[in-house]
């Protein structure tokens, strides 16, 4: 039971990080109708900036700069690349994001090389034990930070002008423009927030029990895409639910790997995608999605 609880809590922690990434992916989709597959690259970039700056400026300053830098790169890529070709087909835009992803990742992979960079999280590799349940401090802080940020973001959707404008524009862009809503501005803010959230997720995804920053961080972050899709691509609630489901499922499969050998070792890696497929077969629009996606 205690092992199960510890798998569960670890899964929730991982899931809350997936949710942070998936939320960024979803708000970009809502605001700009782009599936941003460069999101994993943004995450890698945030982690890289923090890892490089941490020795000279200290952890917290490095995190702040990393968040700003990632948000800035997201903003600039939207302004320079995507907002200029608004009329392009969604498929073309999506492929463009894949191109951007490859460019950023290839360069960062080259820079990181075979080393494992540390982001220098001050909480280190400490483990907290409550009863028989043990969880790394990193994962515990991750849950708290992620849920605070998700709460703030949800409040922003509901109560700020930006949130109302984003939801209105996502529902009917033309009517929103006729009401004086500047879609370009709404979109730019969405990309900035999404970039910042990716950098925050990077801080915890590279912490204990993960050894540090390796190029495969992007692959780990990729699990957030099935999370966003199984939740329903245009739903923020869905991104949260999808993130948690994927995180918990992955953690449980990884934890009970020894008794699941009939699936072949390391099934946990593909669990997010398997869960996504199962959900989509039952509910093509995702758990909370409102409209069916066009096939791209």
């Amino acid at each position: 039971m205690t092992t199960f609880l510890s798998f569960l809590i670890n899964g929730l922690s991982l899931g809350s990080l997936y949710a942070l990434i998936a939320l960024g992916f979803v708000i970009i989709y809502k605001a700009s109708e782009i599936l941003n597959f460069a999101h994993g690259a943004f995450l890698l970039l945030g982690a890289y900036v923090i890892a490089r700056l941490e020795p000279s400026v200290g952890f917290f300053a490095a995190v702040a700069i990393g968040i700003v830098a990632t948000a800035l790169v997201a903003f600039v890529s939207e302004r320079v690349l995507f907002s200029r070709v608004r009329s392009a087909h969604m498929a073309s835009l999506t492929i463009m994001t894949l191109g951007l992803d490859l460019i950023i990742t290839t360069d960062l992979t080259r820079r990181i090389g075979s080393s494992v960079l540390s982001l220098g999280q001050p909480w280190g590799a400490g483990v907290v034990r409550v009863g028989g349940v043990s969880i790394s401090e990193n994962r515990l802080i991750a849950i708290v930070v992620a849920f605070v940020l998700i709460g703030l973001l949800f409040a922003a959707f509901r109560f700020t002008s930006w949130g109302v404008a984003l939801r209105a524009a996502a529902e009917d862009g033309e009517a929103a423009a006729l009401m004086g809503i500047r879609q370009a501005r709404v979109g730019a803010v969405a990309w900035i927030i999404a970039g910042g959230l990716a950098a925050v997720a990077a801080v915890f995804l590279t912490g204990s029990p993960t050894p540090g920053l390796e190029p495969n961080l992007r692959t780990i972050a990729f699990a957030a895409f099935p999370a966003a899709i199984l939740g329903g691509l245009d739903s923020t609630t869905g991104a949260l639910a999808g993130g948690l489901i994927v995180g918990v499922a992955e953690s449980l499969f990884a934890g009970y790997n020894a008794s699941l050998t009939f699936l072949g070792g390391g099934f946990s890696v593909v669990v997010p995608y398997a869960v996504m497929m199962l959900v989509l077969v039952a509910r093509p629009a995702g758990l909370f999605g409102t409209k069916e996606l066009h096939r791209v």
Partner: protein, 312 residues
């Protein structure tokens, strides 16, 4: 501030000419009705004023639109709103997943001042108490009439100087249509000029000071509303009464090309629909258009116009 449209010519996708030299004016504090059947160019006219032609791959070839003396052609829709011109779009287009209150907030995005927003909202709630009762409800759950009220209220949130409405009576029960007419008069009394684009001529001419009749992309008739309402051609074509009442109730789709002086749907001007359906599609009764075969020479004015466009 007055809206001035002069010689406006608009083409879709470079080939389909939807407006062919429209002249029209909405004076300060006036209510102006623009009548016309499907495909007459009513919605195109509104798109030209609100800056949304580009989104529909249309552009102004010739002519000018000014509001308060400043040109509106080529201005972004958002800036048109900031200049005080707001549209209540056809089919209401409320944000169904947003609550009533959030819809109103979306209408006030361009208003920076919080107090001004609250005041505008209170005015809307005073005008439409139903909306105040349902402020927390999703707009999708409102009835058609309530949605139309919300669409009007949302447009009023930025305190426009000119309110444009695209067929607000569409699909609504007669008493609700009458209520909307009253509301428009009230809005106008409060100092907002109104341009009401309608197929429902009875309602539109009932509230308007002046009116224009748009046919095939140009103004065929204009004048004081009372005079238009009394005119024979309007009576027969748009109000569904007059000597040929029985025929005009039948719907235009049933009647093939006229055997008389008028052009039938297959004639020259057919297909100038400006992207909204073809001229051959059935038109609801009483909004009737010109394809009803009239007795020869009966509709002097419109008949003459048909001949003129047909000759092109």
């Amino acid at each position: 501030m007055e809206l001035d449209v002069s010689g406006l010519q608009v083409t879709y996708a470079g080939v389909i000419r939807a407006l062919r030299g429209v002249d029209l004016r909405v004076g300060a504090d006036e209510i102006v009705a623009v009548l016309g059947s499907n495909g007459a160019g009513k919605t195109t006219l509104l798109r030209a004023v609100t800056g949304s032609l580009k989104r529909h791959r249309a552009k102004v070839d010739k002519g000018q639109v000014t509001f308060g003396g400043r040109p509106l052609v080529g201005v972004d829709p958002v800036d048109v709103v900031n200049r005080g011109v707001v549209l209540v779009p056809e089919g209401r287009r409320v944000f169904g997943r947003l609550s009533v209150e959030e819809n109103l907030r979306a209408g006030a995005i361009s208003v920076r001042d919080r107090a001004a927003r609250a005041e505008a909202r209170n005015k809307v709630y005073a005008m439409f108490p139903r909306l105040a009762e349902r402020r927390r409800q999703r707009a999708a759950l409102l009835s058609g009439g309530e949605q139309q009220m919300l669409a009007i209220g949302r447009a009023l949130m930025s305190s426009p100087r000119l309110l444009l409405l695209d067929e607000p009576s569409l699909g609504l029960a007669p008493q609700i249509v009458a209520h909307i007419g009253e509301v428009l008069k009230e809005i106008n009394r409060a100092g907002t000029s109104v341009m009401l684009v309608e197929q429902n001529a009875a309602m539109a001419l009932g509230v308007a000071d002046r009116g224009y009749v748009l046919e095939l992309g140009r103004v065929e008739l204009s004048g004081p509303a009372a005079q238009l309402a009394a005119s024979d051609s309007i009576a027969s074509l748009y109000l569904g009464r007059g000597p040929r009442d029985d025929v005009s109730r039948r719907g235009a789709g049933d009647t093939p090309g006229g055997p008389d002086g008028l052009d039938g749907p297959g004639g020259g001007p057919g297909g100038l629909g400006g992207g909204r359906g073809g001229s051959a599609s059935p038109v609801p009764a009483a909004t009737l258009s010109r394809w009803v075969p009239p007795e020869k020479g009966r509709f002097g004015l419109l008949g003459g116009a048909g001949a003129a466009t047909g000759g092109r």
